[in-house]
Symmetry: C2
Subunit: 116 residues, 2 copies
DNA sequence: GAAGTATAACGTAAATATACGACATAGTAT
DNA sequence: ATACTATGTCGTATATTTACGTTATACTTC
């Protein structure tokens, strides 16, 4: 993509888009759900539960880690990944604000010349 | 991308990822905010407010329309785009469910052998 | 009907994303 | 030290996204 003009958007819009992009793949959604449901969060276990190669899963993990949505702690030979619940709550609020703005705003109607 | 294995994820995960992908570009976030804030939602007006060419904006609009997040009504020569607030509310709930699951689930801790 | 205007569709180039095998690294165990 | 195991990194092929100019379509107006 040619992201040259990306800087013309507000930081708020870019931030929301960044997080949305992190959730824009079912594997990453699945990873977060896995980390939330299981207490064991070893990298290898995650890869074993997903229909993807270890390499690809590792790549998705790095992407989530880059946004700090998850954190990895090296524990000897294995690596334990955990959710950054504080950030997730913050992101949740951000999304809620966005959706509230979108759903409670004045919807256009016939009085605006629109048929919808 | 090689989406061959995408079918191995649950429909719920794929649906969430699909919507997230729609929000994964600042231009599309901006478009939704614009439609929410302004009652006039003519296609040309939208393009004029964004730092992108008409062609590109039209492309983003089609993407949002493909997911039914917005709807376009042809009104003579112009096209009026409106938010599908009902669907947006539904999507909001979906996200809320996901984030609640992610933030209230049992976070892993020292008792699981993790340092985080 | 001809000219003008508003959009969408088409074609295309460049940037990114996805997936995975092969290799590198680092700790464990014998 | 050597063999083994768990992960991450690198390189690479393919698919998709983004952006935009150009062309086609459709309606309005004269």
């Amino acid at each position: 993509m040619t992201y040259a003009k990306t800087t013309a958007f507000t930081e708020e819009q870019q931030q929301l888009a960044r997080v949305a992009k992190a959730l824009a793949h079912p594997a990453r959604v699945a990873i977060i759900q896995l980390l939330a449901s299981k207490r064991t969060c070893i990298s290898g276990d995650i890869a074993a539960e997903l229909p993807l190669s270890r390499t690809t899963v590792s790549q998705h993990l790095q992407e989530l880690k880059a946004l700090d949505l998850i954190r990895g702690e090296i524990d000897g030979l294995t690596v334990c990944y955990c959710l950054n619940t504080a950030l997730l709550q913050q992101v949740h609020q951000q999304f809620t604000g966005f959706f509230n703005e979108a759903t409670t705003g004045a919807a256009c109607g016939p009085e605006d010349g629109c048929a919808c």
